[in-house]
């Protein structure tokens, strides 16, 4: 029986429900010292003076790292990693020092005794799409062009009987994985070990080796478990450099460094706010003649980041006249990064609400409107889709949800409505190598992959078992360690497809060489490098999300009693972990829709609600009924496994579905996230 497709419990489940799975801070080392970061309290300028006398005098303080007083390191592409080399301050909250002490209490106490003086330069932290200094980045982070244009969108808008021209905005969101970023670092015998909370051990190794001018052989990165990442642990952040600086200053002494929750609002990235000028043009039947999205987001002076919010508009719907663009505002703020479904997640908010607005204007069902505008081929590239089952998702979702009888209603004091939106996320593969070894009746599969809660510990053995045609129980798996072959970062929903493909290749090579009756110690590697089929096909996963929203008629309190998604995401390796991925994404989408907003105070350049009391995320009471389904999709083109990623698509479209449902319930159209009651209240019937 095939192991792929089986409902297999998590291999790491026992360790996680008992708390015995060890995360980065918890690495089993003796005699650890504790490192606490010091952060700039200005948004731009230079550190002019530092007084560490009092702090250093505290018994138990081992060392204090300050700008210019640490070893010289190398500049790499990510300029933010050039830490503590000079006293320049590029944003408020930037690392300008660190204290290392025998206990965390002493380290925190000492940190409070270090005093900085600054030369303060004027800063600019005010985000607005109307600024005159917007600029066009060279390319998007995905490698796609910054702008696209086909036909004449302006002419289409002038000629069309029905148009929508609206501006939609998404708020700044912070990834906030439950496990704060942490590193335990040990420099010993000319070698560095980092237990680091990361989405990619090999990426951390490569970068840290470059920063410190080490051979990659001298650096080992270990990360068996990650307490969530959602993009914020996709690339090394400056604190890893600090932990390494501290470890090298104190050879033989393991250094534990964990960010505080507040520090995570400055140091490990966030989804920047986006403004999306959206235009739709349609004929009297609702066939789109034009679609356009112009996106603006903020980026940081120190490192550029473009949120590719225009990407999904390029692919979703057919229309002869199309345009997308991306512009940036450079500010003295912390550096943005990927957050779950970068580009698609915010970028499907504007267009999917706009489609709802168009459906309303035309008096047609929003599902029918989407079906009417299904493209034959990818409108952007002209390539055929390897598979595209958006319509099937919409139809099945409509059935399961009970879309047909959707008239808005009043239930006591509550106004009840329903909404729908589409989801999309590209299906890519990256590069990876896997090794398979045979030992005493067991196959040991090793790959430097990561499990952020995604299920890699469980699904990779399923793939290996089928590839080797042996029972699942005979497979052991090792991930999260650079002693295993190099694997790509867990990001962009590429993990299972990439690592699984590498395992597939390794298994084929293994069986070619050793047959099905190997000897102890037989071992083979296999790699996947270039995505095999993307040349010929546009490869995407699709989905449809349905929301029921209740709005209190007097207070405008908003509840989401029901969220239902149907996805078309290729072959599902493990329905149990897949369901968690989908519903988890949808729950985070609900959180984005109703709660999440980081408030930046332009006077100081920092996020003021930098904790979990004031940066609200969804709680259990917000998400009591989130349901995910998928259709059987056989995609022979996407990759040899027929697998598309599923970690991100669940968050795409959720916010639009909820906003559309709130409009259906109340008649009030909210175009800026989050959907809070103050925005609905003035318009309630």
């Amino acid at each position: 029986m095939s192991a792929i497709g089986q409902d297999i419990p998590r291999r790491d489940g026992y360790a996680k429900v008992t708390g015995t799975a060890t995360y980065a801070y918890e690495a089993d080392v003796d005699n650890a010292a504790y490192c606490v970061l010091l952060q700039a309290s200005i948004a731009r300028g230079q550190v002019s003076e530092i007084d560490i006398t009092e702090a250093l005098a505290l018994p138990g303080v081992l060392t204090i790292l300050t700008p210019g007083q640490v070893e010289k390191i190398h500049q790499v592409d990510d300029t933010e990693l050039y830490v503590l080399q000079d006293g320049e301050v590029d944003y408020r909250g930037q690392i300008i020092g660190a204290v290392v002490a025998d206990t965390p209490e002493i380290a925190h106490h000492a940190a409070s005794l270090v005093h900085f003086s600054y030369h303060v330069d004027e800063h600019d932290s005010t985000f607005s799409p109307d600024r005159h200094d917007l600029y066009k980045p060279d390319r998007l982070g995905t490698g796609e062009p910054t702008d696209t244009k086909t036909g004449d969108i302006d002419a289409a808008m002038r000629k069309a009987p029905h148009t929508i021209t609206q501006t939609y905005t998404t708020a700044t969101n912070h990834n906030n994985p439950m496990e704060p970023h942490a590193t335990t670092a040990l420099w010993q015998d000319d070698a560095l070990i980092l237990w680091d909370s990361t989405q990619g051990v090999h990426a951390v190794r490569t970068t840290i080796a470059q920063v410190f001018g080490l051979d990659t052989d001298q650096v080992r990165v270990i990360c068996p478990y990650v307490g969530g990442g959602f993009g914020a642990k996709g690339e090394p952040h400056p604190h890893i450099v600090v932990a390494t600086l501290a470890a090298r200053a104190l050879p033989g002494r393991p250094i534990r460094l964990a960010l505080t929750r507040a520090q995570m609002f400055a140091l490990v990235g966030y989804r920047p706010p986006t403004v999306q000028h959206t235009r739709l043009a349609a004929d009297e039947h609702g066939t789109l003649t034009g679609i356009a999205l112009a996106a603006v987001n903020q980026t940081a002076r120190i490192t550029e980041f473009t949120e590719n919010a225009g990407s999904p508009t390029r692919t979703m719907y057919a229309a002869p006249n199309r345009a997308t663009s991306h512009r940036l505002v450079v500010l003295d703020v912390a550096v943005p990064t990927w957050m779950r479904a970068p580009g698609e997640c915010p970028g499907m908010f504007g267009p999917e609400v706009a489609i709802d607005e168009l459906a309303e204007a035309l008096g047609v069902d929003p599902i029918d409107l989407r079906v009417r505008n299904e493209p034959e081929v990818d409108p952007d590239s002209g390539k055929p889709f390897s598979s595209r089952n958006l319509v099937a998702c919409l139809r099945e979702g409509a059935d399961r949800f009970g879309w047909a009888d959707r008239a808005p209603r009043r239930d006591g004091d509550w106004l009840v409505g329903t909404g729908v939106a589409a989801s999309v996320f590209p299906a890519f593969t990256m590069q990876a190598t896997a090794a398979i070894r045979y030992d005493q009746g067991r196959y040991i599969v090793e790959i430097g992959a990561a499990d952020l809660g995604t299920g890699a510990w469980t699904v990779l053995p399923q793939i290996a078992a089928d590839a080797l045609e042996v029972p699942l129980e005979q497979i052991d798996i090792g991930i999260g360690d650079t002693t295993y072959p190099r694997a790509s970062v867990a990001g962009g929903s590429t993990g299972t497809a990439t690592w699984g493909s590498a395992i597939l290749t390794a298994a084929e090579a293994f069986r070619d060489k050793f047959g099905d009756d190997p000897d102890d110690g037989d071992e083979m590697e296999g790699s996947i490098s270039k995505p095999p089929f993307h040349e010929d096909y546009a490869t995407y996963a699709f989905g449809a999300q349905f929301a029921e929203v209740r709005v209190h008629a007097d207070t405008a309190e908003i509840r989401v009693p029901r969220l239902l998604g149907v996805f078309a995401a290729g072959r599902i390796v493990n329905p149990r972990t897949a369901r968690s991925q989908f519903t988890g994404g949808m729950t985070m989408g609900l959180s984005m829709a109703l709660h999440e907003s980081s408030s930046l105070d332009p006077r100081f350049g920092h996020v003021i609600n930098h904790d979990l009391a004031e940066y609200h995320i969804a709680t259990c009471a917000d998400a009591t009924n989130v349901e995910a389904h998928w259709i059987d999709e056989h995609d022979p083109h996407v990759n040899a496994l027929g697998v598309k990623g599923i970690g991100e698509i669940g968050i795409v479209g959720t916010a639009a579905a909820i906003v559309n449902a709130a409009h259906h319930a109340t008649g009030v159209r909210v175009r800026d996230l989050p959907l809070t009651l103050d925005k609905l209240l003035p318009g309630l019937p």
Partner: protein, 172 residues
């Protein structure tokens, strides 16, 4: 002020094991468990009483261990999710979390588990919650469970499954 100024001796039990140790008077139960005793089952998600990851059972009641100073825990019984699985046998709540895949990254999970155990005990004791009519006999509906477990954040969004797990454990 020297180190000695911040030291006090305290004794308590952790997962059934007695410990007597000199703790920093500024240390929380959470930090003593994790940094001194090496019991990293309770997690630190915020250190401010805002996330629930550090939840343990203190004399049978769920508490946020990041908000309890270790010096105040003298003579107490501290039970972590690790200790709930006595002799390698999962507590019914833990088994239910596994059965329902009510976890992903696992970082909030030990806290969720301890909190669920505490919540079910509170419910059994007739303690009301905000979810329903506080004067009526409480019923363990999904909304009731959700309300009682809402102090435990899960960024992976396992909530729907967490409610199902607690329902299952309550029926066991």
């Amino acid at each position: 002020m020297g180190l000695s100024g911040f030291r006090a001796e305290v004794g308590f039990r952790v997962d059934g094991e007695p410990h007597t140790l000199a703790v920093d008077t500024r240390s929380t139960v959470l930090d003593v468990l994790r940094d001194t005793l090496g019991n990293t089952s309770p997690k630190k998600g915020c250190d401010r009483g805002q996330c629930g990851a550090c939840t343990v059972l203190l004399d049978g009641r769920r508490v946020l261990s990041c908000l309890v100073l270790a010096v105040t825990a003298g003579g107490k019984d501290i039970l972590t999710a690790k200790g709930l699985a006595a002799n390698g046998r999962l507590h019914p709540v833990q088994q239910a979390f596994l059965d329902n895949d009510a976890l992903q990254c696992g970082y909030c999970t030990p806290g969720q588990v301890c909190s669920a155990v505490g919540a079910l005990d509170e419910f059994a004791d007739g303690k009301p919650s905000h979810a329903g009519d506080v004067t009526a006999e409480p019923e363990l509906t999904r909304a009731e469970i959700a309300e009682r477990i809402s102090g435990n954040l899960c960024r992976c969004g396992a909530y729907t499954a967490i409610i199902s797990a607690i329902e299952q454990a309550a029926d066991a």
